[in-house]
């Protein structure tokens, strides 16, 4: 049985913002599944529907075998939800937070006590367990967020942007934590992220979400391999970027050329062979090049390929809207 089944979800917010536009995907049990997309793509709305906070206008979703609208309480008992906004009571201690969470999840007292000790140990929170959360560092608090989601041994854990707002060091530590979690617990994890490298590293499968729909789904490696060839990025020193794209796109070896500010990104079959041709074509057009890089396709390129839009530009536009 699939841990999560989503079919044709639609949601429009009162102000007319169309957040979901027929979104569908399936997550099999026991894996880490990444919902990847820029800010404003509809990831958080999807999660809110799956954890029963919000209701879809149309479409259906089942989590751990239960319908999220008709069997909301059954869903709530089988999931953990770690939201972007944390949700920890910062005026209480880690232990108190964990106990309250276990109580509202209807855990028997004795089992709860053992589970709290276990989680404090697993997440390295023993030393701070009886300190007020307000005094914690960002990374420590985030670990408690995740622990809170796991108190009642849920079958599915939702992590909404688990590392947003963390410094690089805390982010790396959180990644290690989540990797361990994925191995040890009998758990399906759905994580949303707008960090491509995060999805690449943590998720067994990903779905790329753009403007309320899944544009492509699969294993990150396969998606990248599906894009034949290399990515060539050219930084322009002068000249019109759009006309440069036109020049490059006309070359036979180039499959795709897209402009992003001063950067021109081209997808080619063989990077090392294509670079001289690209450079001479640009030079012939009077355009000076500042730098060139050749790389294997990244999820950036996957996003670009399937949506025709640049991930970072969309992400910035999306966060500006919010």
């Amino acid at each position: 049985m699939a841990a999560i089944e989503v079919e044709g979800l639609e949601k429009t917010y009162p102000k007319g913002v169309r957040a979901l536009d027929g979104l569908s995907f399936v997550v099999e049990e026991g894996i880490v599944f990444g919902l990847l997309g820029p800010n404003g793509a509809g990831k958080s709305t999807t999660v809110k529907i799956l954890v029963t906070l919000s209701k879809p206008d149309a479409g259906e979703a089942r989590v751990a075998g239960h319908d999220v609208v008709r069997e909301a309480d059954a869903v709530r008992g089988s999931i953990g939800y770690v939201s972007q906004a944390s949700g920890v009571d910062v005026h209480a201690t880690a232990r108190e937070n964990l106990f309250l969470q276990g109580r509202v999840q209807r855990m028997p007292q004795l089992e709860l006590r053992a589970r709290v000790d276990e989680l404090l140990h697993t997440f390295g929170l023993e030393e701070v367990a009886d300190r007020i959360v307000r005094t914690y560092s960002g990374g420590t608090k985030r670990r408690l967020d995740v622990a809170l989601g796991l108190v009642h041994r849920p079958r599915v854990l939702f992590l909404d942007e688990p590392t947003t707002g963390l410094d690089p060091e805390a982010r790396a530590a959180m990644w290690e934590e989540l990797e361990r979690l994925a191995e040890s617990e009998q758990l399906t994890i759905l994580l949303t992220t707008h960090y491509l490298e995060e999805a690449d590293r943590l998720a067994r499968r990903i779905a790329i979400v753009s403007r309320g729909r899944v544009v492509v789904e699969g294993e990150p490696e396969k998606l990248k391999r599906g894009l034949l060839g290399d990515a060539v990025t050219v930084e322009l020193a002068n000249g019109n970027a759009d006309s440069a794209a036109g020049v490059v796109a006309r070359l036979g070896a180039v499959e795709e050329a897209i402009v992003d500010g001063r950067h021109l990104r081209a997808r080619v079959e063989e990077g090392a062979q294509a670079v001289p041709a690209i450079l001479s074509a640009l030079e012939a057009d009077g355009i000076t090049v500042a730098a060139v890089t050749v790389s294997r396709p990244s999820l950036d390129d996957v996003y670009l390929h399937y949506t025709g839009r640049d991930f970072r530009a969309e992400d910035e536009a999306g966060s500006a809207e919010q």
Binding site: R76, A85, L100
Partner: protein, 258 residues
């Protein structure tokens, strides 16, 4: 115990524990009533020379009013805790669990009512030192505490209802400040009812703050009209129930915005 009661108690423990951790709030909450008792009652002590006061001690007259006023003002602020929980995602975290929805509001309202009861005991104790007496003994104390707790619960419901609609601190403060003083003045908190202008006496009958004052003051009068006190306690209970239902409706509408 039903799930709803269990959840309410679990969350009530959280509010009370967090409150006890910051005893400074209790000190702040009690500073104002002390000024009313210690300064205002002295400043206006000759006011009881006017006909209409059933006592010749203004502090005796004023104490039930100060008790209810303190509960009223304290409760109007209680919605700030809900805004804090909304901002920090605490409410959403509970909404994704099987916790009963009503427990989120009920625990906050109960917490406020209990605080009002504790404040009342402290205020009555201080007033006792100043010579103000509760004339009807234990039953009198009970009625005054109940009046304060019900006024607190009723206004906690309103404060939480507004908090769930506006979801920001500034408008909540602005709206409640707007009502604070008029409701204080259109009541018998500071002055005997018979000395109020006719239209204000009329308006005071619809003021839930005044209902608490009427019930509480019966207990410190020489002549106690128990049925009047009972009637107003009943009105307050209905008021508190209504505002809590209103707060639940506001909660429903908040959930629809998610």
């Amino acid at each position: 115990m039903t799930a709803a009661v269990k959840d309410t108690l679990s969350m009530l423990v959280r509010h009370q524990r967090n409150f006890v951790r910051q005893p400074i709030w209790l000190v702040f909450a009690l500073t104002q009533p002390m000024f009313w008792l210690l300064l205002y009652s002295q400043l206006f002590r000759r006011i009881v020379d006017l006909p209409g006061f059933a006592t010749d001690s203004y502090v005796q007259f004023l104490t039930p009013g100060v008790v209810v006023m303190t509960a009223f003002f304290g409760a109007t602020w209680s919605g700030m805790a809900m805004i804090d929980d909304l901002d920090r995602g605490v409410v959403q975290r509970f909404l994704a669990t099987p916790a009963r929805r009503g427990a989120l509001i009920a625990s906050q309202v109960l917490h406020t009512a209990i605080l009002c009861a504790i404040q009342t005991v402290i205020i009555l104790g201080t007033a006792w030192l100043l010579g103000a007496r509760v004339e009807r003994g234990a039953a009198g104390w009970f009625v005054i505490i109940a009046a304060a707790a019900l006024v607190g619960a009723g206004w906690a419901g309103i404060s939480h209802g507004i908090a769930l609609v506006v979801r920001r601190e500034e408008p909540l403060i602005a709206i409640l400040n707007f009502f604070g003083l008029p409701l204080t003045f259109i009541s018998a908190i500071l002055i005997a009812e018979s000395l109020m202008p006719g239209w204000m006496q009329w308006a005071a009958r619809f003021n839930p703050v005044n209902w608490g004052v009427v019930a509480a003051r019966e207990m410190s009068s020489v002549q106690t009209d128990w049925s009047r006190a009972g009637l107003y306690l009943g009105l307050l209970a209905a008021f508190a129930t209504a505002t809590c239902l209103l707060a639940s409706r506001a909660f429903e509408s908040y959930r629809r915005t998610l």
